[in-house]
Amino acid sequence: MKRREFLDWLTRIVGATVGAFVAYPVVRYLVPPPTPEAATRRVVAARKDEVAPGAFKIFPFGGRPGILIRSADGGYRALSAECTHLGCTVQYNGANKNIWCACHNGVYDLEGRNVSGPPPRPLERYDVHVMGDEVVVEKPVAK
């Protein structure tokens, strides 16, 4: 009898363990991950006061670089940071208030228009929203 009772008890324990091995991943799965959704159209580019006025930040957006620029009055703008000439990552020139590509001296204005040098097309512009203490960049929806 003892052996049988022991085996029955062991079976219950091991059975519960298997149950735990099944339940644990399911429970972890159900808990929302840190980012609630894939960053294809929308991404948190920075924290609210991470970028000082007059400064900029390069952030990843759907696998490609984006540039977040904060103007002196505190407002934000965001554009694609991939130069339309040969793909180098651009940067913000606070002194001239324009966007500059160091590779071949391409220059864009703050609206993204290619104003000087080799770039053949403007930079794509994104919408910026400040939600709480996050600066959210979103691809504009066609209106």
């Binding site: 029955d8 091991v14 363990t17 000439h85 160091a102 001296n105």
Partner: protein, 434 residues
Amino acid sequence: MRCHVAAVLGLALLATPAASRAQEAATPVPASSAEASPKRVRDSCLDCHRRLEDPRLSGPTKKFDVDIHFVRGLGCSGCHGGNPADPEMTAMDPDKGFRGKPERAQIAELCASCHANAAYMKHYNPRPYIFSMDEFRTSVHCKKISEGDLKVATCTNCHGVHGILPPRDPASPVYPKNVAATCSHCHNAEYMKGRTVPTNQYSLWVGSVHGKALLEKGDLSAPACNDCHGNHGAVPPKVRDVTLVCGTCHGREAELFENSPVKKAMEDQGKRACVTCHGNHGVQHPTDDMLLSGRLGVCGQCHKPGSPGERASETIIARFRGLLGRISDGDSLLALAERRGMETGVGRAAWREAQDHVINVRAAIHSFDFAQISTVLADGEKTADAGLGHARTALRDWRTRRVGMALSLGVILVLIGLLALRVRRLDAGASPSA
């Protein structure tokens, strides 16, 4: 200079038949009012010459229909004088202003008489390109012509003569893609025989990164001969000029180089800045092999072994190679993780960023400033390490998964075993406990 004297004579001749137009502008204009109108009026020069059998005389009419001057209302008499309304041979009366074929040395002034005249050109284009005789005089071409060497280029050699198209027209010989070929009509070994100038520029350029960008990729921002040598003031850049020329597009490198110790050293030694390491006409995409040790790389060409410059360059080179190695390791590890079915999006993004940093390092090299280059190298090393870190995490996760799988399989097998025992017991007839 003779080209200067000829200009005065030419202008004097041109002034005469243009009296009616002179009311509009105080400066002399070549065309009569009838020909200046946009509509194409009867042109007896064309009508007659078209029908002639001698190719020397009929040839100029073949492509004249598309000539930009003809399209804008300037016919044959605009440059050659004469009377296009007169259908007889009297149209070509020198007393009536006919000039015939201009002397080669006079061509530039003839074209300049309109194209250097801002007020006149503005009739045709509110934003005209105003030719500068001053600029042209700085060129080797003008200098040689004025010395009597007529085997050099003047306006018509590059722009054509009786079928001139605007430079933005892809069929024009001075369209960016066509410029180099046009220059090479003269700048080749055969034509230049007897002169001391090098003649391999065209073939070098076609195989260069600039030539390929312009001709094969169609990138119109890539330089042809005129972008570095000037359009109408063709002059080989001097030692100091090279940085300015290359720096027009490669501004970052030029700026870094301007403030570098190497610049002054090169100037003192009469070495041309960018060209010494990169070449000029045949410039290729720089490779990381330029940063090899000793005489295999470019630094070792000047810096003798044991010198402070050589020691500094060796340190930089070693660290640069180290960074490249880390990036390559990152790539292998990420590829391994990917082959094992792990997702590596974040790691790959960091790895790509590291490669961007390598571009920065390659640019920073031109400062030849140890501290500056080290800073940029450090940034690159950080992102390369981040990519490596992600790859290692992915592989660690993969191992964890296998451990988790082994554990769960083990537990499942134990349970299967226990259940099998119970089944055996049941089959043997004993009743199971509740």
